[in-house]
Symmetry: C2
Subunit: 233 residues, 2 copies
């Protein structure tokens, strides 16, 4: 009998923001697997470190970040093959995932390769969006308001339409797009409603009004924007 594949959300970075279930499954795991950039420490493993017991087998798989898709696809093919070996040997495999596995998470690439053949269970995690609003002390969305998540690499027109339609917006993956995104927000007269955060819940966290945000921003950065259209209090 094959093992079960677990995709475990670890939350935004503070290890205490992982769920009880994630902590239990990691500490019970015979095999943990996680992605990392070539030559770099795995952020997912860093979050989970305190829960990994000695003697646990670790499968680190390097995923290159390139504009072309093929190198990453090959990396996931290779990781899926290694994980298949462990599952066929009868052990469960716990894949460590930053944030929530199915919310802009790379676990979907393993899920696509393995879910037809093996039993998969996903353990949801706290998203960086929830973490950002908590750290800002900013109620994100309420009642019958509409909320949208817009990746910063979207074109200006898509960002503008998304910002226009929703009552609250999270703009993720800001990084080098900070200046362009800020100009779009300024054009809509919404700069004063926007707050910038980098490395939410980590030691180096910074929260700033959007007008003071660094350009370019680091990779782990986000903008939250709330219009407060219906401040029923």
């Amino acid at each position: 009998m094959s093992g079960v594949l677990y995709g475990i959300g670890l939350g935004p970075g503070d290890p205490e923001l992982m769920t009880l279930k994630a902590a239990r499954l990691i500490s019970e795991a015979a095999v943990v697997a996680y992605p990392c950039l070539p030559g770099a420490e795995s952020f997912a493993r860093k979050i989970a470190a305190g829960m990994i017991r000695e003697g646990t087998i670790e499968l680190a798989f390097e995923v290159p970040m390139t504009p072309e898709r093929t190198p990453a696809q090959m990396a996931y093919d290779k990781a899926a093959k290694e994980i298949t070996g462990a599952l066929e040997a009868g052990g469960d495999v716990v894949v460590l995932c930053e944030g929530d596995p199915f919310f802009y998470g790379s676990f979907m690439y393993l899920h696509a390769r393995l879910s037809e053949r093996f039993t998969v269970e996903v353990v949801p995690g706290v998203t960086s969006v929830s973490a950002a609003s908590a750290r800002m002390g900013l109620p994100l969305v309420a009642r019958n308001e509409m909320f949208s998540v817009l990746p910063a690499p979207l074109e200006d027109a898509a960002l503008r339409a998304g910002l226009d339609a929703a009552d609250s917006v999270a703009i993720i993956k800001v990084g080098r797009h900070l200046g362009r995104v800020r100009a779009v927000i300024e054009g809509l007269g919404l700069t004063k409603r926007a707050i910038y955060i980098e490395r939410a819940t980590l030691g180096e966290e910074r929260v700033l009004p959007l007008c003071d945000a660094p350009d370019p921003a680091p990779y782990f950065s986000m903008i939250l924007l709330t219009k407060g259209a219906d401040p029923w209090l």
Copy 2:
């Protein structure tokens, strides 16, 4: 010196989906406070029950669900007054919140009343949206896709525009709006992309294709819809 007010996200319902931090703060709390409907058990307290130690002071505050706002506003005024008393006495107060406190959560009403006077810390939680996608085994959103949350009470035109613009959508607060929402989705030819879930992560959970969902649906129900516009795998 006054105590600290904690707004603690408990996650979607399964007690094991609360964070380590939530579990620690609840078990250390001298005072826990939570909302409930008049005469009903508090769902938030039920999730947290295993973490509340004997001897903890409990402040249950009844919040009526009425179309008018005044009764609920008065209920939050009263709750804020009681919590103020406990904080001024120097103890911390832990407010138990279903899901994530700032994501369609009622904690914002206490936050609005108390955050100028007291130190407030919000502990983010796993949202029902993340829980639903995990339980469906449905990757929700990836790469540069746009994601939106639409409350079902929105008018048809707003639902249609929101469904049209985003790559993935969560429709929350479905309940008695199920039939109308389903007609809007059908009108867009998206019924086959939509999955219905009720009571995600609880014992009575049900996952169904949207076409088989009950009408009316229970209060704790949701529809996830993904277009899979860019299935890069």
